[in-house]
């Protein structure tokens, strides 16, 4: 359909463009501004960057202290590194668990695929917090797993499962697994079985055919799924807070504490700016994959 009238076309575009510009893009500029302002007592708790001096001139007061502190204080640097590591390992576990699932669903009879896929998505539609709560019920000192272990006499006193790194990884993998399976499935279902037959006719064993044909062709799905897990997981707050130990100081949790507990808005903003800089490349890459996926249809 040609949209000959430019006015209706412009209107369709302007509405989401302006909305996202105002409520998604503009806020980042404000974050950047507040990151270079000084913390102050008051509402809101920061000092203006641009001030009128006594002589009536406009002065810009840039406070880069927050950023120097971020580099010098190993607490923040460690939090960034730990977040990236936790998110990376979680994405890898999701891939190892999700790939066979996506593969099996893509190879299932066509009539079954929707139901199988729905079963992967269904947990995602139920409350995320309450599913985390289920893991607390399983892992706590008086939780279900410890009760079973005690009743069977395998252990004599409860094993510490909750508030450990294992619980943290479990929670992240559990919550983000659907985000890995969906793009992988979308990719694998389009794979032409003829290619695998050809490989097999040429004498490739199934495992070799998988490595030579399926795996390389599913690379876009692997990348999209990894990004969908990795990027949000780097900034994850709820799972480290509820399942991780006190030392699971991931950057989302640190930012939350700076903001809500210490009421240091400029510091929280500086943390957000650096987190965003860290994620700009992965996000740009994800967007590139998204764009290619839709053009390729």
């Amino acid at each position: 359909m040609r949209w000959r009238a430019p006015s209706s076309r412009a209107l369709v575009l302007a509405l989401p463009f302006l909305w996202l510009g105002l409520f998604f893009l503009a806020p980042f500029l404000i974050v950047a501004k507040i990151a270079v302002s000084e913390a102050a007592l008051g509402i809101p708790p920061y000092a203006p960057v641009a001030r009128w001096t006594d002589q009536g001139a406009l002065a810009l007061v840039l406070n880069l202290e927050n950023f120097t502190l971020l580099i010098e204080d190993s607490f923040y640097l460690d939090a960034y590194l730990r977040s990236v590591r936790v998110a990376g390992i979680s994405a890898l576990i999701c891939l190892l668990l999700g790939y066979p699932m996506a593969y099996a669903i893509a190879r299932a009879p066509e009539a079954r695929r929707n139901v199988l896929l729905l079963l992967v998505i269904l947990p995602f539609w139920t409350s995320f917090l309450l599913r985390i709560m289920a893991w607390i019920g399983l892992l706590a000192d008086n939780g279900v797993i410890n009760n079973i272990l005690l009743a069977l006499g395998i252990v004599s006193e409860p094993v510490r499962l909750l508030y450990t790194d294992a619980a943290l990884y479990l929670g992240i993998v559990y919550c983000y697994l659907p985000f890995m399976v969906l793009p992988l499935y979308a990719n694998l279902v389009k794979l032409d079985p003829v290619l695998l037959e050809a490989a097999s006719d040429l004498g490739a064993r199934p495992w070799r055919a998988f490595l030579a044909v399926t795996l390389p062709l599913s690379l876009p799905g692997i990348l999209a799924g990894t990004m969908l897990v990795f990027i949000p997981a780097v900034g994850e707050f709820v799972i480290p807070e509820l399942l991780g130990g006190p030392d699971a100081q991931l950057i989302g949790r640190v930012l939350w504490t700076e903001f809500f507990t210490n009421r240091d808005w400029p510091m929280a903003s500086a943390l957000a700016v650096v987190l965003l800089l860290l994620l700009v490349l992965p996000i740009a890459w994800f967007q590139h994959l998204q764009g290619r996926a839709t053009e390729g249809r």
């Binding site: 359909m1 040609r2 949209w3 076309r9 575009l13 509405l15 989401p16 463009f17 909305w19 996202l20 503009a26 806020p27 980042f28 404000i30 974050v31 507040i34 809101p44 066979p100 099996a104 669903i105 729905l118 079963l119 992967v120 269904l122 947990p123 539609w125 139920t126 409350s127 995320f128 917090l129 599913r131 709560m133 289920a134 019920g137 399983l138 706590a140 008086n142 009760n147 559990y174 399976v181 199934p206 949000p232 900034g235 994850e236 707050f237 709820v238 989302g252 930012l255 939350w256 903001f259 903003s269 957000a272 987190l275 996000i283 994800f286 967007q287 998204q290 764009g291 839709t294 249809r297």
Partner: protein, 269 residues
């Protein structure tokens, strides 16, 4: 080959077990009579009664549903426009920026989105005097914004594998573009819009982090109340709440699946 496929099915089974054991646990323990949630003493409905009488949870649920309904509707309108522009407008000026603004919220860590929106609301309140106080309105705007991206993706992908011959036929027969949109395009993408609305509704209902940043005193959404309760420990009412949500969502999805089957059977495919 069949043995290998067998192993693949085992992997699928393990995956589903991993996804569903915690959910089954929520349902089973919600019927536990004991106040100590994880120690089974007997079958009881008492925590459902307690949930119904828990004003803090019920009020928060009502507030969350109101926010989610408005945010999902707003996000569906904005997301439809955005998805339409991306799928149909070809190369236009600012497409790169627009595409980035639509795709980025899908992966943006919630703490960044939440903090930046709050700072925007504070800056707006200082410069133009709006919003006077944060609460229902600001959370609704925040949820509309991030849910728009999800709706846009759903609509865009529906439009890109969509048979355009019907639209072209209507145009050839003299229909105006808006008539074609209202009579042909809209009904054909309606399932995607419904799916997008439901997705946006669920995302809004489920969001803790962005709501915590953008809400104000006196407007606590359901996840905010659940989160502060969870910080103090497990309570049986929360297990009852989880079960109610699981039942409603499963029923809704089954219904959607059935309706989808009926619709595709009618369409002859």
């Amino acid at each position: 080959m069949s043995r290998r496929l067998g192993r693949i099915w085992i992997a699928l089974g393990v995956g589903y077990a991993f996804l569903y054991i915690p959910i089954a646990l929520l349902v089973v323990l919600s019927f536990n009579d004991s106040r100590l949630v994880t120690i089974w003493t007997g079958f009881s409905f008492r925590w459902y009664v307690a949930l119904w009488r828990n004003d803090a949870l019920v009020n928060a649920a009502v507030l969350s549903i109101r926010i989610a309904a408005v945010a999902a509707t707003g996000a569906t309108v904005l997301g439809m426009a955005a998805g339409f522009a991306l799928a149909r407008f070809g190369a236009f000026r600012g497409r790169g920026l627009f595409g980035a603004m639509v795709a980025a919220p899908l992966v943006m860590p919630e703490v960044i989105t939440g903090l930046s929106l709050l700072l925007l609301f504070v800056a707006l309140a200082e410069s133009v005097g709006w919003p006077g106080e944060r609460g229902l309105t600001t959370v609704t705007i925040a949820h509309t914004t991030f849910a728009t991206a999800y709706v846009a993706v759903v609509v865009q992908s529906r439009l890109s594998d969509f048979d355009r011959s019907l639209e072209e036929a209507a145009l050839d027969l003299g229909a105006r573009p808006w008539q074609v949109f209202a009579l042909i395009t809209l009904p054909l993408i309606a399932p995607a819009l419904a799916a997008g609305w439901l997705l946006a509704f669920t995302l809004s209902l489920d969001d803790l982090v962005i709501a915590s940043f953008t809400s104000g005193p006196g407007a606590s959404t359901l996840p905010m109340v659940v989160f502060s309760a969870l910080k103090l420990g497990l309570t049986p009412e929360l297990f009852a709440l989880a079960t109610v949500i699981i039942v409603v969502v499963s029923a809704g999805l089954l219904l959607a699946l059935r309706l989808g089957r009926v619709a595709s059977a009618r369409a002859g495919g």
